[in-house]
Every structure is written in structure tokens, then in C-alpha cells.
Amino acid sequence: MKPQVAFFDFTSCEGCQLNKLNFENDLLDILKHVDIVEFREAMDDKADHYDIAFIEGSITSPSCVERIHDIRRRSDVLVALGSCAVNGGVNAMKNLHPIDEVRETVYGEDKYLFATLPAMAVSSVVKVDYEVRGCPMTQQDFLKLLIALVLGKQPPKYGSPVCVECKLKENECLYNRGMVCLGPITRGGCDAVCPSFGQFCTGCRGILDNPNIDGMLEVMTSHGISLDEAKKRMLLYNSNEVQL
């Protein structure tokens, strides 16, 4: 029987979900391998058990916590999709400010109306078996994971920095253009899409294991931005991962 898969979204922009709906060319091939049993953005159905549950979004409220536990209980394999789910992503930036201040900025004196928690990675609440990184996750990356699971092999892990793919594509390095880029310490796998389109890497796939953070800050500041600015850049997607 084809694996029964389901998609769930937590606090996020749903860009990763949308990226799945954008599989115009591959959608029919994908449906040969799996049965989609739950996908709120696209369908009404729901199921009790999932072979693979794909989770998008961060955990940011008590009700999210409850719901993710429930999904985990009903899933054999749980995959975090996108940087919000994998490490908190941009949502985690709010963790850098005192929570009351954050609420006040948005809701003023009604700040206690809605419950909120620090933005957390799915893995800090339940066990995550695999992850697809990126903001948004790329379709290619998602497909690789799906095919790997279908073939029963380990999905790719991506231990090399974005610079590797950037170099293989023979891009002009943004540092040579006077820009500042997070490629050297950011986990690759995106085909260096931002630098290839002339834009700096924002670190959306997370920081590599054992990064040289001080070295990276030095590189950034020696290319013309302040230490404060460099730190902010580094934290854009990685407020939960990097301690500065």
C-alpha cells in the first residue's frame, strides 16, 4: 500500500505548503508514490493515522504544543518542513525581544488577549525524524526526501556550506562585489539560489555544525558592516541556534 501522508501547518507563512501546491510538473508523479490523506490547504479530508506527517511552522502557543503532540502520536514518521519548523526560522526573532514588549508593539493594551510562547522548533517539542530546510523549502529538496523515504534510504543531510554550490555554479562571490553574505556558515542544499540571483544568503537553511562564529563575524565586519548589524544578519533565521 502506498504510504499515507498528511500535511500540517503551524505558525508560518504557509509558503512551504504553497511550494507543494506548486509542483505542477511533478504532482502526478508524486501521487503515484503516496496517498495524501490530509492537507488542510487543499482538501477537506482527515485521517487517524499517518505513515508520514509533514509539519510546517513553528510552535508558538500552548494550543500548538497540544496539537503537535497529538499529531506525533498518530504518525510513524514526522518530518519538519521549512525553517520555521526546523529551527523556528524568522518567527524566532521575536524571542530576541522581551515577550511583553513584543505583544505590546502589536496589540497595545490588549496585549494579553492571545496566548503566546517563544517560537520553538518542532524538534524542541516532539521527536522529529527528518527535516527539509529552507525558507521556503525547495521543491527539489522536498522531492529528494520523499523519494528517499520511498526507496527506504536516508534523506540527504547537507553538511556543506552554501558556498560550495555557489562555487560550483561559478557565481561571482558577493564579497568580491562588496556585499556581505552568510553562505560560508549556512547549510547548503539550496543550489545557492540567492547568490545566484545576486542577493546575499540570509542563512535560511540554518547554521552548519561547529561553525566558526567569531571568524564569520570578523569576515562580515571586515566587509563594511557593523558588529551589531553582522549579529542581526546572523540571527535573522537562526535566533534559536546561535548564541551571540
Binding site: D26, D29, I30, K32, H33, L143, K144, I147, V150, L151, P156, G159, S160, P161, C163, V164, K167, L168, K169, E170, N171, E172, C173, Y175, N176, R177, C181, G183, P184, I185, L208, D209, N210, P211, N212, D214, G215, M216, E218, V219, S222, H223
Partner: protein
């Protein structure tokens, strides 16, 4: 060795003429301040004055990503990849780059000789060009002067804005047949082209320096600045490490096995299943990189395996300089020697 004069304005005509001998590949502008070897579409787009290309010419013989075979999962069978032998003319190649190809020949053809590489390599001709060294070039320090012509079929030496064209091989002779915009002339020596960057010792002395440098303090200093991006090795013309991966199509029926350039500067390079990492720290990896260039192969072949193109330095975001590291090692070695002598 014949020598002809050629006007700068006639170079595009020469490039067009060379098209008869194969696809012409030459330096083009890329991005804001960079260059890259590309197939010529319009000979007027070819750049004659460039410092270095982003990727070395190696990319044409050992492609960054190369399909090794196609396979079918269902039939448990594979299909061979036919490396078509197309003649190619590489135009506007600097001397250090040519030398790097000769070194790459050694790496890919000793022991088991790789057929893909051999086929691509065999059907190529090279036209060299002189260059003005910038603050990163140091090829003279590793024994490669600007006018080093080994490996080329033709060589263009710039003299007062125009060129002297040297014919170096029979192939080169053949390539000029029917090209009439050249006149026979006397070779001239060009004065005043100097390397701004130098390694302080003759390269013959470097293996000795490296013999004692293994536990140098220099490595830790470099490692503290290195962010481990791999740019140095991925752009180096004499590096050739690669990784192999299988890619499967969405149908889960067919796929390809491909290899892509890898780098010993990446933390996962020597990691194995179970978590053991044989070069776990940046300091191990930096050291390995330099020993690959100045000791390991050099001990066997008598030549530095660095050609002084300056790419690793120019493209390192941390500004880590290959010749500076070597000079620091030299300085340290001198100090150590001094102490040894004083003590005696």
C-alpha cells in the same frame, strides 16, 4: 620557434579563425569584477586582459558536476556515459593555468588513468596569453613565469599593447594556416612585468620548511580566521577531490550517479559512518590543504602543486593568503633555526 606580430585589433579575427579547429573557449567578463572561461559566441566579447577566472580551466576537463552513469532501479542496470570527443581550442590561457592542467594530468592519469578525463584532454589545443600580475598572483615564486610556454600550441605575448605570437607546436603551426593578419618578427623581451606578491624562499626550499612546520603555531591562527567555506579548494586549479552521489528521478525508477567537486576544507570531508572524523578540526584541514600543495606530491614529483594563481587568496572571504601563510612558516622556521644555532 617562430614569432609573428599581431595587432590587438586583429585578435577577434584570429579567434574566429581558430573556430575551424574546434569550439573556442576563452575568458569573458562575469558579474561586476570577475571573469570566467566560456564558449565564444562573439569573438569581440573575449577579454584579453583579465586577472584570473573564477573557476580554473579544470572545469572543462573535470566538470564541477559530472554524470558518471545513468541507471534503472527496476532493471538493476546502468547505461554508460559517452564522453563525446569534441575538439576544443582554449584561448587566452595564462601560464600558471596551463601548468595547472599539466599537474592535473598527472593526478588523473597516474595509477588508474581516468578515461573521461583523458578523452577531454586529448582533443584540446591551447593558446596562451601573457598577463599583468595583480596583488594575488605569485606564480613566479613557484617557478612559473608569465611567459612560460610549456603546454601551449600558440602563445600571445603582449608588447606595447599589441601582441607577439609564438608558434610552439605543429598543431600551432596548423592553426595559423591561412591566417594572414600576422607578420614574421623578432621575439622581444618585455621588461617591467613584476609580481607584487612573493614567497620569500625558492620553491626548492619549501619542502624542508614544511618538514618542520607540522606543529607550527601558524595553523591555529589561520584556523581561527577560516570559516570553512571551501572557496580556496573549490577554486584551486590543482585540487581535484570529488564526491559521488546518486540522484533518483521523481518516478523513483531511473536516476543518475554523478560526481561533484568536493573540498578537504569542509568539515565532513573525512567523516565516516559512526561519527569518526579523521580531520575534525579546521586546523587539521588547513594544514592538510597546504601540505597537499607544498609537501605530499612535491616530495614525489619535485614540483610545488600550487601554481600561484592566487585564487584561494583572492576568493577567500576571510582574506586568508596562501603566500602569507607560507611566508609565516618560513619566518617561524628561521626563528627556530636561529634558536637551534644559538643554543649550539
Amino acid at each position: 620557434m617562430e614569432c609573428f606580430s599581431l595587432l590587438r585589433s586583429d585578435v577577434p579575427a584570429l579567434i574566429d579563425h581558430l573556430g575551424d579547429f574546434g569550439e573556442v573557449i576563452a575568458p569573458h567578463g562575469k558579474g561586476d569584477v570577475s571573469y570566467s572561461f566560456e564558449a565564444v559566441q562573439d569573438s569581440c566579447d573575449v577579454v584579453l586582459d583579465y586577472n584570473r577566472t573564477l573557476l580554473p580551466l579544470k572545469k572543462m576537463f573535470l566538470p564541477p558536476v559530472e554524470k558518471l552513469m545513468g541507471f534503472s532501479l527496476k532493471n538493476e542496470s546502468y547505461e554508460q556515459v559517452d564522453v563525446a570527443i569534441t575538439s576544443r581550442v582554449f584561448f587566452g590561457v595564462h601560464s600558471y593555468e596551463m601548468q595547472s592542467i599539466l599537474r592535473l594530468d598527472h593526478s588523473m592519469l597516474t595509477g588508474s588513468a581516468e578515461s573521461n578525463y583523458f578523452k577531454r584532454r586529448q582533443s584540446s589545443r591551447f593558446v596562451g596569453i601573457s598577463f599583468e600580475p595583480d596583488e594575488f598572483h605569485f606564480s613566479e615564486s613557484v617557478g612559473i613565469v608569465i611567459e612560460e610556454m610549456e603546454g601551449f600550441d600558440l602563445f600571445l605575448n603582449e608588447v606595447d599593447g599589441d601582441f607577439q605570437l609564438y608558434v610552439l607546436t605543429e598543431n600551432g603551426q596548423e592553426m595559423l594556416n591561412g591566417f594572414d593578419k600576422i607578420n614574421i618578427t623578432e621575439p622581444e623581451i618585455v621588461e617591467g612585468r613584476h609580481f607584487k606578491k612573493k614567497i620569500r624562499y625558492h620553491y626548492n626550499r619549501l619542502p624542508r620548511v614544511f618538514q618542520y612546520a607540522y606543529h607550527s603555531e601558524v595553523w591555529a591562527d589561520v584556523a581561527s580566521r577560516c570559516v570553512g567555506c571551501g572557496a580556496c579548494t573549490l577554486t584551486c586549479p590543482t585540487c581535484f577531490c570529488f564526491d559521488v552521489q546518486d540522484e533518483v528521478e521523481v518516478t523513483a525508477e531511473d536516476g543518475i550517479r554523478q560526481r561533484s567537486w568536493d573540498s578537504c576544507m569542509l568539515s565532513t570531508f573525512a567523516e565516516v559512518a559512526g561519527g569518526e572524523n579523521f580531520r575534525e578540526k579546521t586546523i587539521n584541514r588547513t594544514r592538510h590543504r597546504l601540505y597537499r600543495k607544498f609537501k605530499y606530491i612535491t616530495d614525489e614529483e619535485g614540483l610545488p602543486w600550487c601554481v600561484g594563481c592566487g585564487r584561494c587568496t583572492a576568493f577567500c572571504p576571510a582574506g586568508i593568503s596562501m603566500p602569507d601563510i607560507v611566508n609565516e612558516l618560513i619566518q617561524e622556521d628561521e626563528k627556530a633555526q636561529y634558536h637551534r644555532t644559538v643554543r649550539v
